[in-house]
Symmetry: D2
Subunit: 284 residues, 4 copies
């Protein structure tokens, strides 16, 4: 991995699998005057696809590199993206009344620990407003009044205005309509307060308590139209015991949720996550 | 916790919850000349029951203690058991073709790391026979021939002959009939190769791979008539990534299964597990 | 464990070990009309002491309980404290330029996740001032100018004015004088950015990188006059690899430091930590 | 990662770092008709070296590949090795009286879970003899009689006769002489029962108990002349509490030792460990 002051260029690429792809990519970088600092690569035998993430040092000639990669696109079906690692991304947080994930993300951003700006906090409640003000982040209230559909339209419009690179559902307690999930496909991360696929849906800690599990967990995943079923980015667990009440599980779980969500957001912002089908490659 | 050479007496007790139960138990021990070395206690607010595990030093007068506890049984509905910790228990292992859990248990017993004797290995396959011979453990073959019901009868009869204190299903790949589960209620431990309740049933690693989870797990639980739904004793997980094939998950998971099963067996043998409803208290 | 709305009374007690202490304490509670909700107890065979933490429900008569426990003090040398769990404690944070622990503690307090108020942030740098202002917490600058001794006096005086129940060194990068450590004995928690006793002192991540460890860690401990040698409250680790540079270790470690420090502060505020010699009992 | 039936060829290579090395290696594979199944690569900015592990499918022409890599050796200073993954390696275990690691390794090998044969067990005690017999492994006794130096000579001679690819010190309780460490440089793995560099040397669990740590650990490392200071391959930890006596730590730690040692042996046998200076790259 590179040190922060190098500000490398990040290449993400995918292609139908075939021999020599790593060689081709590495040659493209070498011809552009760049040196590979870090390479993550994966060939999936089931799906016959190839995915790759390269960090290249600053000496690379971007124009030459672009031309080289375009050639590979034509020859081998390579899809690629170039990202300047110095570039700050626009993030919008969507939440309800539970604030530990929001306050954690804000605390990290406020000390520069996540490479992004928070463009707004959008909520169906008003609980987060004070937190938003404290961090000088615009707050947008999209309450559900008479009609759930109207609220979804309002939420969609608010997001569209903010033009985020990434939307983070930080314990937003409503199911989003399919059209909104689709609009942010691969750019909307949710934190679910269980170790998916266990306890998908509502009330996971209560159900975990009833089942008597010895570990609880949290899962950060990309949002898809099917509830709690999108590609998983990060998961973690915490040991619990019979002595923990549902409230204890909620408290202990909150800590796991915070760190799992922050990890997933960081991985996404650093272009370390690649989605294939319903699974992710995480090049960390 | 006590040191091995003390060989304490272990008291397990349960009762309808009420004030002063710990005081009553502690007084019973004190009156019997014993000193409490370790106390684990749990009051469950939901179920209104009280459970307790006490380790008492060797000075205790067992007759006096028995009388004292019987008094509490009459007064407060206390159910109790006394266990000599020095006592070795009889364990029977039931398995199929996958042997990592069996070989691990045998390896532990062979160096005295589990306080039990293995009275027999019972299997629907013959793969484990060599392992049994090597460890001088009787091997019982109960193959499924024309009729699954006959095999279940044979398995039940074999177990009955061996009169085990504990039956361990060490990756036995068949569903047991309800009558057999009932016969060993609270005395039969199964290892399931997933983090329950996720991926109950067959093929958990394949399904974990398809879902793209970032952690795999194993669960040791008491067997009940409902498949993979009995009270959980121990669980653990291991980190995996997109680079792991199903075969990799199987290999990595094997290590978790081994240690989780061994931990659950040890906890049971040390009388550290108490079942209330479908949940366990583990006094470790 | 109790649910938050019960607001139980917490009893912490210690005494020279002897038979019947649990019975005596439980009887004292029963006689005061209280019911034991949770009991943590430890008899240390090496040191011949006994420590106990009891959560008692709100029905207890505090005056009767106090009299009962005073009797035990006279008879058995019991030292005890009573704490109302509803009571908010006064915390002062001391830090330097590294702010992830400070911002994490403030984020938790701001959503009510830690039962305390932050009375002030004291620092030898000014980096944390903006964070303090944002959270409306008084900021106290105690820079080192010509004389380190003067700064220590100023720090001591600032702390004294703030009259904290607990002082948290949240990555304060200076060694405190013995007189200041002594003044807050058992009430000052430090986070050290290594898995103590490995890498005590300065530059732990650099040294961890040089040694090629596969896990890095963090340790929260009570401060004593000997550097990084006080009683340990909480520790955790995180997996690292050869791919992690020193900067990566610093970033990954920051997350462990945050959660370990927050856990230790919570345990202390809930009176779950008892110090015996240079070791802690943690009744969690 | 590859599936077991593919039996890929493994290439390990190292060179002074420079641009285009990955491209060169990938081209060499492609020209030999092979397809890259898995690539692990690391460029160390501190030490200016490059290391790589490639798994190549069975279609590769070994002669062409050898020629291609030899060219890179001449041009770029590349040092390389080719390993058939199907090849079973010769392992010798050295132990004293503590047998949990030995019995665990034997249990794994006996079910084919480690790709090696155990050529012998060598010990300064006789405790392991029965275990060796049970597993039909030759046992070699090298007791210390009057002279430690004589014993070291005998141990060295026994190892030399057995011609192992790998020597595993499975809780061997003696310090080896430098000449013996040197003879098996990079081919001798030791398990130390602490989280190194904490508690190097004798009695780590006793010292961990005295220090009051909240986690204990184990470390597998290559043996060098300096005690417990060689390159670390694998480490893991386990949570402990004030309730654990030294004996409890020994029992809990045993489980960590077993799994860490087995993991390190597997990683070594699969040619996944590369040593640079005093650090390892682990391509897992």
């Amino acid at each position: 991995m590179s040190t922060p002051d190098e500000l490398p260029l990040i290449i993400t690429a995918r292609a139908p699998d075939g021999p020599g792809l790593v060689a081709d990519l590495a040659r493209a970088v070498a011809r552009s005057g760049g040196n590979i600092l870090d390479v993550g690569q994966h060939s999936d035998p089931d799906a016959s696809w190839f995915g790759c993430r390269l960090e290249v040092d600053d000496h690379v000639d971007r124009a030459v590199l672009g031309a080289q990669l375009s050639e590979l696109r034509d020859q081998r079906g390579l899809a690629f993206e170039l990202h300047e690692s110095a570039e700050s991304q626009r993030v919008v947080i969507v939440c309800s009344k539970t604030l530990h994930c929001v306050s954690d993300l804000l605390a990290r951003v406020s000390i520069g620990a996540l490479g992004c700006t928070i463009e707004g906090i959008v909520s169906d409640a008003t609980t987060a407003e004070e937190l938003a003000m404290r961090h000088e982040v615009p707050f947008y209230s999209v309450p559900v009044e008479d009609d759930r559909h109207h609220q979804e339209i309002a939420l969609g419009a608010t997001l569209e205005d903010l033009a985020p690179d990434l939307v983070v559902l930080a314990r937003y307690m409503r199911v989003l309509p399919a059209w909104l999930c689709d609009a942010y496909d691969g750019r909307m991360i949710n934190i679910h307060h269980s170790f998916l696929p266990a306890f998908a849906g509502a009330g996971p800690y209560k159900r975990a308590h009833e089942r008597g599990v010895k570990l609880i967990g949290a899962t950060a995943h990309y949002v898809t139209a099917e509830l709690d079923a999108g590609p998983i980015i990060a998961q973690d667990v915490e040991r619990v015991s019979h002595r923990d009440s549902v409230d204890d599980l909620i408290r202990r779980g909150a800590d796991v949720e915070r760190s799992v969500l922050a990890a997933a957001v960081r991985l996404h912002l650093e272009h370390r996550v690649m989605v294939f089908g319903n699974r992710t490659c995480v090049f960390d």
